[in-house]
Amino acid sequence: MPKKKYKPNILRKLARSDKWQFLYSRAKEIGSIELFKNKNEFSELQIEFMRWLQVYNSLYVDLAMKEPHITEEVIEDDILCDAYLLWRSKKKDENKTGSQKDASEVTGIPSVRFK
């Protein structure tokens, strides 16, 4: 089956690039590296970009930790990446619910969830 083409999201492509991932990691470690010309009053675009920097950073961590279902191909492909992110968030939710259930079984005290 031929691979259907789609236009990749340029902001995401930029955020996962080696250059920006390197800058983001250094900025997190050192703190004095500024990613943008402005130090405050970030635009919607910059906030969205920072969100993607963080997301891709976490994906590279997953890759390094050899987490299941994550590969370079997944990171490079927006569709595969979205699928992995959704699966990861569902898994985290399940784990959270599971551990809450376990705790209530052990203590006998029903857990209360605040929304």
Partner: protein
């Protein structure tokens, strides 16, 4: 093996992508983007707080104007989305059905994505990927259809006005090392025959404000 035409197309796409990446990087770095048009330098920048306040004030004015507009029989010309949806329903056009189909597509897509995330088979992966893309295309089609029906709603008119008014404030041209507004009045921009520079400015503004 790819033929010369296919290779040329691929090359052009790659060049375009690099250009878009460079533009995006420039915008992300300092919230501005410069572009050339007819031997002049133009730029679009992020609005200041004062300008954002002005946009909000103008939006309220526009809303009042739209709310008060009536035809010769005293009927309101502009309606809110919810009212328009009801009017369309009376004419047999069910926008609710479009919305329901869109929600259904989102559920289906999520289900396929969860399958795609864990599949190891290359053929299944391609199949699922293509199905997701087809669903996304259908979703975009429906969103466009819905937007067309509701394009004259008060909400949409205000949104459009807000984008154009923002452009009027932040579209600048370089004159002797100084950046000046291209149009001194909003009406000048709206009535301008030189739509190319407006379209280009609009393209970058949509990216900068993350509307698109």
């Amino acid at each position: 093996m790819k033929n010369r035409e296919e290779l040329a197309k691929e090359y052009a796409e790659k060049v375009q992508e690099i250009r878009e990446m460079t533009d995006m990087e420039e915008m992300v770095f300092d919230n501005k983007i410069e572009f050339d048009y007819k031997d002049k330098k133009y730029r679009v920048r992020k609005p200041t707080y004062r300008e954002l306040k002005e946009i909000e004030e103008q939006k309220i004015k526009k809303q009042m104007e739209l709310l008060q507009k009536t035809d010769e029989n005293g009927n309101h010309i502009y309606l809110f989305e919810e009212q328009l949806i009801e009017k369309y329903a009376d004419l047999g056009i069910k926008i609710k059905e479009i919305q329901d189909e869109m929600s259904g597509i989102l559920y289906k897509t999520e289900d396929l994505m969860l399958k795609l995330a864990v599949t190891n088979s290359v053929s299944d992966r391609e199949k699922l990927r293509n199905m997701i893309l087809a669903l996304r295309e259908r979703h975009a089609e429906l969103a466009m259809k819905k937007a067309d029906y509701l394009s004259n709603s008060i909400e949409n008119q205000i949104q459009e006005f807000s984008i154009m008014f923002t452009l009027f404030l932040v579209l600048e041209e370089k004159v002797e090392d100084k950046w000046n507004r291209v149009f001194s009045l909003y009406e000048d921009m709206i009535n301008s025959e030189d739509t190319d520079v407006i379209d280009r400015g609009l393209y970058f503004l949509m990216k900068l404000m993350h509307y698109a």
